[in-house]
């Protein structure tokens, strides 16, 4: 999923990785208007279930971990890729968490309230919280962890955006203010944590589910023996140093091979029913499928290339669980290239791609065609947006001609970079190449390979000839703000320094609308503002060409019960998940 190309590491982290929570079917999150204490009925789980069978219940799942992911996996404040998020959620707990319906439910917090002006959040923790070694876990742990994540010496700058809404965070992070107490996160007492945001932000409670808000054990961090190359204490999250607040605790950790977990007896929601959770890290798709078919793995992500086989195989099809992913695969324009300066040229390109044929016929099961940036289910999603840029070769030729190229032969060679060359993307982009060449009669060249790998360097290609690259944005939390702000505002809030704006074309109109929408609390008005944002981003002055909303398929053995499918992103193994053979 990590195939971001441009502002790599961080954004990559943020976006690609960004793992996609979604709004349950058109039911917008309404926590922002909650003022009073919310008490969500807690699932009552026996704190220490007496094992009835002598055999421990063991689940085996696979994550196709990328190399970079595992490096961040233990440090929630620096975590940005989908797989490291997953590891974080296994090991540590935040204040609140998402349900399978994308509602917010308490994790370590018991209740929370928001002040009248919408800026002060007060969390009451559950009483008697404990780390996995039995020592007490208090609000002070949260205060310490959040401030630690903002410490400029933590060097995990890319993930700063998760905490950027907190008052005083920017000044402390950029070193303008060196006093940690200037950050508005405060433990009033052992059970009460107060967080103040800079401005009212309706999406903030959703942001609180992100790993940067997890409590990290100071005791373990202090015991760390080694400093990693970015200057952070390392390996404190691995056995034997680590103590944990999440449902599972790692007992064996072998990079590039596997992480074995055991249930945390002191988890706030009760000890998980699964005693042992084995996460394997197999990347080869054929190997993953073989391992699932022989029963060595109980749950795997279905490789897109195996979809066609699985739908023809009754046995496997019965295990397939499909969900829509709250994210969008899109092409990003390299702005500032003379040939594509006229918006009509970029619109022409969008009109030349037949997304319906592409997604329905060429790549069945991969996703549904997208005409706008926000995914269905989000506030501001409006099926009418972007329809004027549907596939229409005649219109495409006209737009190109109006945009200054009446003779397509004058148009310079166009480059498409699509990241790592898996069969899926290769087929997809070979088809797109043919579509564009047929419709516009221009020359299109494919440039496979990640920006940093395999002999392609996107930075070397930029600003010279027409160029688009494939990018995936997956939601970190189910709010349109997350889609709009991180990649295409100038400067994006997470940028610590912004020295090169002249190389990035900005759209001030778009920026203004995004910030207006962020501060708005009325959902109808927000929806309208996001519609205007979309109009700018996708139609009027297109920075991006949306391609499709991905569909995720997983194979889950029928005996693995009660997995929590957080739409479009994770299949969580939580305290109630179990195996009944």
């Amino acid at each position: 999923m990590v195939q971001k190309l441009d502002r790599r590491e961080f954004l990559q982290a943020a976006s690609a990785a960004a793992a996609v929570y979604a709004l349950a079917a058109c039911k917008p999150q309404t926590v922002e208007v909650e003022k009073e204490v919310t008490r969500v009925v807690e699932k009552v789980v026996e704190a220490t279930p007496v094992p009835t069978s002598p055999e421990p219940i063991t689940a085996n799942i696979n994550m196709a971990l990328n190399r970079g992911d595992i490096g961040d996996a233990g440090e929630p404040g620096c975590s940005g890729a989908v797989n490291s998020y997953y590891m974080n959620y296994m090991m540590f707990a935040a204040l609140v968490r998402l349900t399978d319906k994308l509602e917010i439910e308490p994790d370590l917090a018991d209740t929370w309230s928001v002040s009248d002006d919408g800026t002060v959040y007060t969390f009451k923790l559950k009483p008697d919280l404990k780390w996995s070694d039995g020592s007490p876990l208090t609000a002070h742990d949260f205060e310490w962890s959040i401030k630690r994540n903002l410490d400029p010496k933590m060097w995990c700058g890319g993930q700063f955006w998760q905490l950027v809404d907190i008052k005083g965070s920017r000044a402390y992070y950029t070193g303008e203010n060196t006093d940690p107490d200037s950050v508005a996160v405060k433990a009033i007492d052992d059970l009460t944590l107060q967080v103040e945001t800079e401005t009212p932000a309706g999406y903030f409670i959703q942001v609180c589910t992100l790993p940067a808000f997890m409590a990290v054990p100071k005791a373990s961090v202090d015991k760390a023996l080694e400093i990693n190359q970015e200057g952070r204490p390392q390996d404190w999250w691995k056995p034997p140093l680590g103590i944990y607040s999440g449902p599972f605790m790692p007992v064996e950790w072998i990079t590039d091979l596997r992480v074995y977990f055991e249930a945390n007896p002191y988890y706030a929601h009760g000890k998980p029913l699964i005693d042992k959770l084995n996460i394997h890290m197999i990347q080869n798709t054929a190997t993953v499928m073989a391992a699932y078919e022989v029963g060595e793995l109980d749950m795997v992500d279905l490789p897109e290339t195996e979809y066609l086989r699985v739908i023809g195989d009754e046995e496997l099809l019965a295990d397939m669980v499909t969900s829509k992913e709250l994210g969008v695969q899109h092409l990003v324009w390299d702005m500032g290239v003379p040939a594509t300066e006229d918006p009509r040229v970029r619109q022409a390109f969008a009109c030349a791609i037949d997304k319906d044929t592409l997604m329905n016929d060429v790549l069945p099961g991969v996703g549904s065609p997208a005409y706008q940036f926000l995914a269905p289910g989000l506030i501001g999603y409006n099926p009418e947006i972007g329809q004027e840029l549907r596939y229409d070769p005649d219109k495409a030729r006209k737009l190109l001609s109006d945009g200054g190229f009446p003779n397509p032969a004058d148009f310079p060679e166009m480059l498409i970079n699509y990241g790592a060359g898996s069969t899926l993307y290769q087929t997809m982009f070979e088809a797109i190449q043919a579509m564009v060449q047929d419709a516009l009669k221009i020359k299109v060249t494919l440039v496979p390979g990640d920006q940093t790998s395999l002999g392609v360097k996107l930075a070397d290609m930029r600003y010279k000839q027409p160029l688009v690259w494939r990018q995936f944005w997956g939601a970190d939390y189910p709010d349109p703000h997350n889609f709009m702000v991180v990649l295409y505002t100038c400067p994006p809030p997470q940028a610590a320094v912004w020295e090169t704006p002249e190389r990035v074309l900005c759209n001030p109109k778009f920026d203004e609308l995004v910030w207006q929408a962020a501060a708005e609390t009325d959902n109808t008005k927000r929806a309208e503002l996001y519609r205007l944002c979309e109009q700018q981003l996708v139609v009027e002055n297109p920075f991006v060409i949306p391609l499709y909303y991905p569909t995720r398929h997983r194979l889950i053995k029928p005996y693995l019960k009660n997995v929590v499918i957080i739409p479009q992103s994770f299949v969580m193994i939580r305290e109630t998940t179990t195996i009944e053979k």
């Binding site: 790599r8 190399r67 490096g71 700058g157 022989v294 920006q451 940093t452 070397d460 400067p491 912004w498």
Partner: protein, 310 residues
């Protein structure tokens, strides 16, 4: 003999030195850096101190010869530095974790491949024209021509999915190692068979065997004293290339069977332009090959008295 070894050792060191220069040169001539370091769009998001830190940590502000010297001097002290892509592991640590796995795999596969290959090859040649000979030849043709990565998929489908003889997830027990070893050794096995068979036939046709036969020596004695001895010596030379081939072959095998070895980490390093890790892997593989060649030369000398060292 002693002088020869010393000279070869010095020579080996010089070669290794050149390898580092070549690899370092290639690495520096191509773009890429830690965490998108040289990309202005990424830099915009880095706090200035952090950028400074990267520069200092990797010594990127120094002239390239100085960078090379720094790398070399710390490498000589046994410190291979930091990888660009593994934030929490030094390269020493990565190598210590992955190298034994690859080495074990390679040694077992080479040992089996060379011994079995010689046995089959010699037998086939001695029984030339028999059914066994034909089968051996057919075998070599098939496995000589099939790419390792295709072979690997075949084996997974047959032995894991269909027959369920071996596990595929994880690593650690002998059962996990069977398929990788088999995949790895099939190629070298067939080249050894070909080589051994050809050598034996060569020897059988030579004058001294004819003389021995003419003298009326028993067949078994001829085989043992002349044929085998004169065949086995050249086969020793195969060991070097075979082990080198194992290293390349294991790139595919380790990815396919999810073996946590060094080749897998090399491919990953190559994929993410992790030059420090690429350097380290190349140097280690290079020294291994140099060492193997040295050993082969020495062994060859011990086995064949006609060879003189001077």
């Amino acid at each position: 003999m002693g002088r020869f070894i010393v000279r070869r050792l010095l020579h080996a060191v010089a070669t290794l030195f050149m390898i580092t220069i070549v690899t370092f040169g290639v690495a520096k001539a191509t773009p890429g850096g830690p965490f998108g370091f040289d990309d202005p769009a990424v830099q915009a998001h880095l706090p200035i101190e952090q950028r400074q830190r990267y520069i200092e940590m990797y010594g990127l502000d120094k002239p390239i010869p100085v960078q090379y010297w720094n790398w070399l001097s710390s490498a000589l002290q046994g410190d291979l530095g930091y990888s660009y892509s593994f934030k929490n592991e030094t390269i020493n640590h990565i190598i210590a974790r992955t190298f034994p796995v690859t080495a074990k795999l390679g040694v077992i596969a080479s040992a089996i491949g060379l011994t079995l290959g010689t046995l089959i090859g010699v037998t086939a040649a001695l029984k030339r024209g028999s059914l066994f000979d034909a089968a051996a030849t057919a075998w070599t043709v098939v496995f000589h021509t099939m790419p390792v990565f295709v072979l690997a998929v075949f084996l997974v489908i047959i032995f894991v999915v269909e027959l369920r003889w071996f596990p595929i997830t994880g690593w650690g027990t002998w059962k996990h190692a069977v398929l990788p070893v088999v995949t790895l050794l099939l190629g070298p096995l067939s080249s050894t068979i070909r080589f051994a068979r050809a050598k034996v036939l060569d020897v059988l046709g030579s004058d001294y065997i004819r003389t021995a036969k003419a003298k009326g020596l028993p067949r078994t004695l001829i085989t043992r004293r002349h044929v085998l001895k004169n065949t086995l010596i050249p086969i020793v030379t195969l060991a070097g290339p075979t082990i080198a081939g194992m290293l390349t072959g294991s790139i595919f095998v380790e990815t396919m069977f999810n073996v946590p070895g060094m080749s897998k980490s090399f491919v990953g390093a190559a994929g993410s332009r992790d030059y420090p890790l690429i350097m380290a892997s190349t140097v280690i593989y290079g020294s291994l090959i140099i060492l193997m060649n040295l050993l082969v030369d020495v062994t060859y000398g011990l086995l064949d008295p006609r060879i003189r060292y001077d």
